[in-house]
């Protein structure tokens, strides 16, 4: 299967989970190049599981994922063509931030140490962490670790990045700063961003296109521009996801 022109990620007939109990069945969607695409859904809807299949860490029950320039991510070999930020940042805890960024450069490029250092410094500067290359991840705040993770995801200049809940566990100001960073990278570098989130503020600011997963449906409940889905979706579950304030909650005195 070849990816259509203008498409960064194509998913066809994907079923994930366990053979006795599939979590998501027959998913098909595509991510346009240069867009910010979100995988949305409530807790337990399968967002993170789908994320792991998109980046080739798990084999699907049926169907397949195709990434432009990579093919099936499960079979991908050689220099990585996309970057990944994990929910817990995934930075190697016993390595400094600079060493974390230098690692893929050392493995996949023929740059001299000084040149690698320059790339690391520039990438860290891009995410506002210039001067932190000698810090261990444990010496950084949660938001800084996330930004460090994004810097490492970008260090090999990919055209596509996958971000798993970048704003999770961060205070609103730090989360907004991270959103700004993602937006800047998307606009300035033309980066395609696939992110998993349920932060409504981030969705409102960043996302142009999304799929909303549902545990009961075992699939996609809605797809499109979240701003349109918020007001125009005929499905009350979709409106409730985007406007939780409309849900009636018992008054607690």
């Amino acid at each position: 299967m070849k990816v259509e022109p203008g498409v960064a990620v194509q998913v066809v007939g994907l079923s994930v989970g366990w053979s006795q109990e599939p979590l998501l069945v027959d998913l098909s969607f595509e991510v346009r190049r240069g867009s910010i695409f979100a995988i949305l859904g409530g807790s337990g809807s399968g967002k993170s599981t789908l994320f792991r299949h998109l980046i080739g860490l798990e084999a699907p029950l049926t169907g397949r994922v195709e990434i432009a320039g990579v093919g099936d991510p499960l079979q991908a070999r050689g220099r990585p063509r996309f970057g990944v930020l994990f929910q817990s940042s995934g930075l190697l805890g016993s390595w400094t931030l600079g060493a974390n960024l230098e690692l893929p450069l050392r493995r996949w490029t023929a740059l001299e140490p000084e040149e690698r250092e320059a790339v690391v410094c520039a990438r860290l500067g891009q995410v506002g962490l210039c001067g932190y290359q000698n810090h261990l991840p444990a010496e950084l705040s949660g938001g800084m670790r996330k930004r460090g993770g994004i810097a490492r995801a970008l260090v090999l200049d990919p055209e596509l990045v996958f971000l798993d809940e970048p704003g999770a566990g961060l205070d609103p100001v730090t989360a907004a700063q991270l959103d700004d960073l993602i937006l800047t990278l998307n606009r300035n570098l033309g980066l395609t961003v696939v992110l998993v989130t349920h932060e409504l503020a981030s969705i409102e600011r960043l996302v142009e296109d999304c799929i909303l997963l549902d545990r009961e449906e075992k699939g996609i409940l809605a797809r499109g521009d979240p701003r349109q889905l918020r007001v125009e979706s005929p499905d009350p579950r979709v409106r409730a996801f985007f406007q939780p304030e409309t849900l009636s909650t018992p008054a607690v005195p």
């Binding site: 990944v84 929910q87 930075l91 893929p104 018992p250 005195p253």
Partner: protein, 375 residues
């Protein structure tokens, strides 16, 4: 209104007993209220008048509803009336929640057959895990042989330092003491036959063939085996292994192989030193307690011990080192869950390694005996 909880007064209204509650009803007031309710003459309804209640804590509301359900099951009624909106709100919030007794997990009674079946399935899963690990490790070895630059060679030095140099003091001390103990114990017996000179033979051969490699392996398993399993387990639960994969690194080439190689190098090296200090410890006892001259001791050792004895011990040490590294990495990479999962992996690593060390020791000794190597 929000003062200390109390029953302001009681009234009999028809067949019902009405209790007028006042103040703040919290969890600590419930045992007393239960006694008061139970102490009223049965049968008949109990009615709680909540008009004077200032605050009803959420936990107390849940218990009141539970009492209501229990009373209904016993053919009686517990009712309430009145109450300010905040108090009614708390009760309404808990109304309609499922009975917690219905949510209790069903008692798990497993028969012997069921337990046996589960154990068999677990064994099959474990075997699958071992096969998958062996396959991935073989692939990593072949890949490294084809392209040695893919290996994290620079990391091996640090691992050797951690597993070897840091363990050196404890290895030397323990083996010195073992040598002393061996010497003393065998001297007690050999004295009866006037054959104390053979203490040197017993101590040196035991240290070279058995105790040296085994004791070093046990120490390395406890220190580095558990450490590697915990390290890789933590990396797994913190998604560091997944991150390595997405950066194009094979965890087996990057993490597992260097650790196995480091231990396969360190354990024989430590064994040589362990044999030397163990023999020295034996000599110290012999000199101090048996009046044996050091030269006589070393002459006896020299005439008894062949190169094959030491080689046999080193072969064992090599196998032990590789086994410790493999089991530790396999358990570490198989970690699931959070901190508890890391703890489980570490424990299981040490237990598995200790069992395998004894098993391998028996197998290798039998093979040496069969092929008359160093015998």
């Amino acid at each position: 209104m929000e003062g200390v909880f109390r029953i302001a007064c009681r009234e009999s209204q028809g067949e019902a007993e009405v209790l007028f509650l006042e103040g703040r009803l919290g969890l600590e007031d419930l045992p007393w209220l239960r006694r008061e309710l139970g102490g009223l003459p049965p049968p008949g309804d109990r009615v709680l008048d909540l008009g004077g209640l200032g605050v009803l804590e959420a936990g107390a509301a849940a218990v009141l509803l539970r009492w209501q359900a229990e009373a209904a099951a016993a053919g009686r009624r517990l009712l309430w009336r009145g109450g300010p909106p905040p108090v009614r709100g708390i009760l309404d919030l808990h109304e309609g929640l499922p009975d917690p007794r219905a949510l209790r997990p069903a008692p798990c009674r497993r028969g012997m057959l069921d337990t046996l079946g589960r154990a068999t399935l677990q064994l099959v899963r474990d075997c699958g895990e071992i096969l998958a690990f062996t396959g991935a490790l073989t692939r990593a070895v072949l890949r490294t042989l084809r392209r040695p630059s893919e290996m994290q060679w620079r990391g091996i030095g640090g691992l050797v330092n951690r597993a070897g140099m840091d363990a050196l003091p404890i290895v030397l001390l323990i083996n010195f003491l073992i040598g002393m103990i061996m010497s003393f114990q065998s001297a007690v017996q050999l004295l009866k036959f006037g054959a104390t000179v053979y203490v040197a033979d017993i101590v040196s051969l035991s240290m070279a063939r058995e105790l040296g490699p085994f004791m070093v392996a046990v120490i390395v398993a406890g220190r580095s085996g558990a450490g590697f399993a915990a390290e890789l387990g933590t990396m797994k639960v913190q998604e560091e292994i997944d991150a390595l994969r997405t950066l194009g690194f094979d965890p087996y080439t990057f993490l597992v192989l260097p650790r196995i190689l480091a231990l396969a190098f360190v354990v024989p090296l430590l064994t040589v030193l362990a044999v030397a200090v163990g023999t020295l410890g034996g000599m110290v006892t012999a000199v101090a307690r048996l009046d044996m001259a050091p030269a006589a001791w070393w002459n006896e050792v020299h005439s008894t011990m062949s190169g094959w004895d030491l080689c046999g011990g080193l072969i064992k040490a090599l196998v032990f080192g590789a086994t410790i590294g493999s089991v530790a990495c396999m358990r570490g990479l198989a970690t699931r869950g959070g901190a508890e999962g890391v703890g489980r992996s570490t424990t299981s690593t040490v237990v598995t390694i200790l069992f395998l060390l004894v098993l391998l020791d028996a197998v290798i000794t039998a093979l040496f005996f069969q092929f008359e190597i160093g015998m």
